[in-house]
């Protein structure tokens, strides 16, 4: 019998899962309850994830056998420091974003509130499931739970949202199917689906072509799912047209969790030695990532729509994470892990700000935002902090992930990557300062003073503002305390041999 703090492994999933269908039951009578149930469930998951992280850090890896069946036959949930860390990241961001979603959902989707939160919690369940599971097939199931809910959530947006969602369905299904094929190929040669078991069984088979093909399928699948350039085509439309509550939930988390899958596959299922030495997968990935960083930034420069610009910037930032993974040395990986955390905070903050702007002004065009800083000083302050972090100005969080990535690139003696990272921070500066300039300096364009119809523009309500400010403060604190996070958690989360 397991003590309660071990049971948190499963509670982290079943609390949001059970709540997600409690919502429609209770929602028939009390529409308002949907938001509170969702928030409570995610809050409970957050508590569980914190318990898990502290347990993992003090007592070592947690193995949880679902239904009491031992691995490799039963499904096993494994929490190691990397998992625990990801769990806390996902829960924290989800909690803050959910907190801020109340008003914007009420405004944008007044009739669909109940179902919105049902699917929303399912998405969260899927993401958490991906994070905690230690079984490659179970991961596929959770991947599809998360993806399906994401498709549905994106489709309820405006304008081109259904089409964006459909393209996402097509691309996402291709990605998931490739992942499934990878699982199948590994199953043929090993007869196992458990990650730890696979890691034990695979090394003698590293010469086999089947294993190589399985790895290739895994890579293509996860690359599509996380929108790695040039497989990112679904991402900008999906993020742009999704309702603001959805884009500020999906943008910071979805792609990060997919990057986590990549890390798991490369460094847990396969040994680092395989992906670095036997097959140069890591270096291929890092070169693709370098292209992604530059291409994403350049595409972001060409956008006039704030959300679309942020989406392309996500494409570029995914490149950073993959670059760190591909560098496959200690500093590079730390940079990648830290960037998962930092980018989740930055994108959460920036997309929430975009949502706040939509809520009050209905505008997304960055050239129509003059004088808005007088009406919404705190929101715009958060925008500035998020933008500075994206550019990589110390002491914001974004600087430090960049710092470790540069150190990793130098350690790998790869000067092209150093140049790419540095050049991309300049490109980031170009497009983010364009926004800041438009927000803060009104005289420049002659000023666009007329108010949007309806309510006068003012600061967003507290339930939206507080998460934005917390996320912005988080960016600063993560920057200042990044060393604690690294030496306390991330160093332990590195794969063996680093």
């Amino acid at each position: 019998m397991n003590p309660p703090h071990i049971q948190a492994t499963i509670l982290i999933i079943i609390i949001p899962l059970m709540s997600s269908y409690a919502i429609p039951l209770l929602g028939w009578r009390w529409k308002r309850s949907a938001y509170f149930i969702a928030l409570t469930a995610i809050g409970a998951s957050l508590v569980c994830s914190l318990i898990l992280l502290s347990t993992v850090l003090t007592q070592g890896t947690i193995h949880y056998h679902l239904g009491g069946w031992l691995p490799p036959w039963g499904i096993e949930y494994v929490i190691d420091p990397l998992n625990g860390f990801m769990g806390v990241v996902v829960c924290t961001i989800s909690f803050l974003v959910t907190l801020s979603s109340k008003k914007s959902v009420e405004k944008e989707l007044p009739e669909k509130k109940v179902r919105f939160y049902t699917i929303y919690l399912l998405l969260f369940t899927g993401l958490m499931g991906i994070v905690v599971t230690g079984d490659v097939f179970n991961l596929y199931v959770f991947l599809e739970i998360a993806s399906l809910s994401a498709y549905a959530l994106i489709a309820i947006g405006e304008d081109g949202a259904p089409l964006a969602s459909f393209n996402y369905i097509i691309m996402g299904t291709i990605g998931a199917c490739f992942y499934l094929l990878g699982v199948g190929y590994l199953y043929i040669v090993t007869g196992s689906l458990n990650m730890a078991d696979l890691a034990k069984l695979l090394p003698p088979l590293y010469d086999s072509k089947v294993v190589l093909i399985a790895l290739a399928f895994f890579l293509i699948g996860t690359a599509i799912k996380m929108g790695l350039f040039p497989l990112h085509v679904w991402l900008p439309d999906a993020y742009t047209y999704a309702p603001s509550a959805v884009s500020s939930f999906i943008a910071p988390l979805m792609t990060k969790v997919m990057a986590y899958i990549l890390i798991r596959i490369l460094f847990t299922v396969f040994k680092p030695s395989y992906v670095i030495e036997v097959v140069p997968v890591a270096s291929i990935l890092s070169w693709i990532a370098a292209v992604a960083i530059i291409a994403g930034s350049i595409l972001a420069l060409a956008q006039r729509d704030l959300k679309r610009m942020l989406a392309y910037s996500s494409v570029s930032q995914i490149g950073y994470i993959v670059l760190g993974i591909g560098l496959a040395n200690k500093m590079g990986l730390i940079g990648a892990y830290l960037h998962i955390l930092n980018h989740a905070f930055m994108k959460g903050c920036l997309f929430s700000v975009a949502g706040a702007l939509m809520y009050r002004t209905g505008r997304r065009n960055i050239f129509q935002l003059h004088t808005i800083h007088r009406k919404m000083p705190f929101t715009m302050g958060a925008l500035v902090i998020g933008a500075l972090s994206m550019i990589g100005i110390p002491p914001t969080a974004g600087f430090f992930s960049k710092w470790y990535l540069i150190l990793g690139s130098i350690e790998a003696q790869n000067w092209v990557f150093v140049a790419v990272i540095l050049a991309s921070s300049l490109l980031n500066a170009l497009y983010f300062f364009r926004v800041i300039e438009n927000v803060y300096f009104e005289v420049s364009q002659g000023g666009l003073k007329e108010e949007p119809a309806g309510d006068p523009v003012r600061e967003v309500p507290l339930s939206m503002l507080a998460p934005i400010i917390l996320l912005a403060a988080g960016i600063l604190l993560l920057g200042l305390y990044n060393e604690r996070i690294i030496s306390g958690i991330l160093v332990l989360a590195l794969p063996r041999g680093f």
Partner: protein
């Protein structure tokens, strides 16, 4: 909009067929945990029987028999049974879905496990049935509009 096709043969055959279909669905469910079959298959059959009803008798008639609201409750209830049994095992001190710990008045742990699985299958059955019909109704009634919420 699916309107009833006024044909006595179809309606009659349908009426004759339905009970057997549904009975077979329940049979598949009940034997699911120790022979081929199970909650999902049974649920799909159960759902299919209602779809047949819709095709033969039209959408309005079917919706009078089973409303969207009831379907939602069935779906949620099914999933609730599933995860509820799992969580009950958790409360009894086992791992999630560890049926062996369920407080059933049976002689041996394998028997308890079998009963636990049956409970799970019933949950799946209800959920799948409701969702199948739900998807069909949602897609079939799109022309009436406003149902995409």
């Amino acid at each position: 909009m699916i309107v009833p096709y006024e044909n006595v043969i179809i309606k009659t055959i349908c009426r004759l067929l339905l009970p057997f279909l549904q009975l077979y669905a329940i049979y598949v469910l009940m034997h699911g945990h120790y022979s081929p079959g199970g909650g999902f298959q049974g649920g799909v059959m159960m759902g299919a029987s209602f779809i047949l009803l819709v095709i033969a008798y039209g959408l309005d008639d079917a919706q009078r028999r089973i409303s969207v609201k009831a379907l939602t409750i069935y779906a949620c209830l099914g999933l609730f049974i599933y995860s509820g049994i799992g969580a009950l095992a958790l409360l009894m001190g086992g791992n999630y879905l560890d049926y062996g710990t369920l407080p059933l008045p049976l002689s041996s742990i394998p028997k308890i496990r079998a009963m636990g699985i049956l409970g799970i299958e019933i949950g799946v059955f209800l959920g799948v049935m409701a969702i199948m019909i739900f998807i069909f109704l949602a897609i079939a009634s799109y022309e009436t509009g406003g149902k995409d919420d």
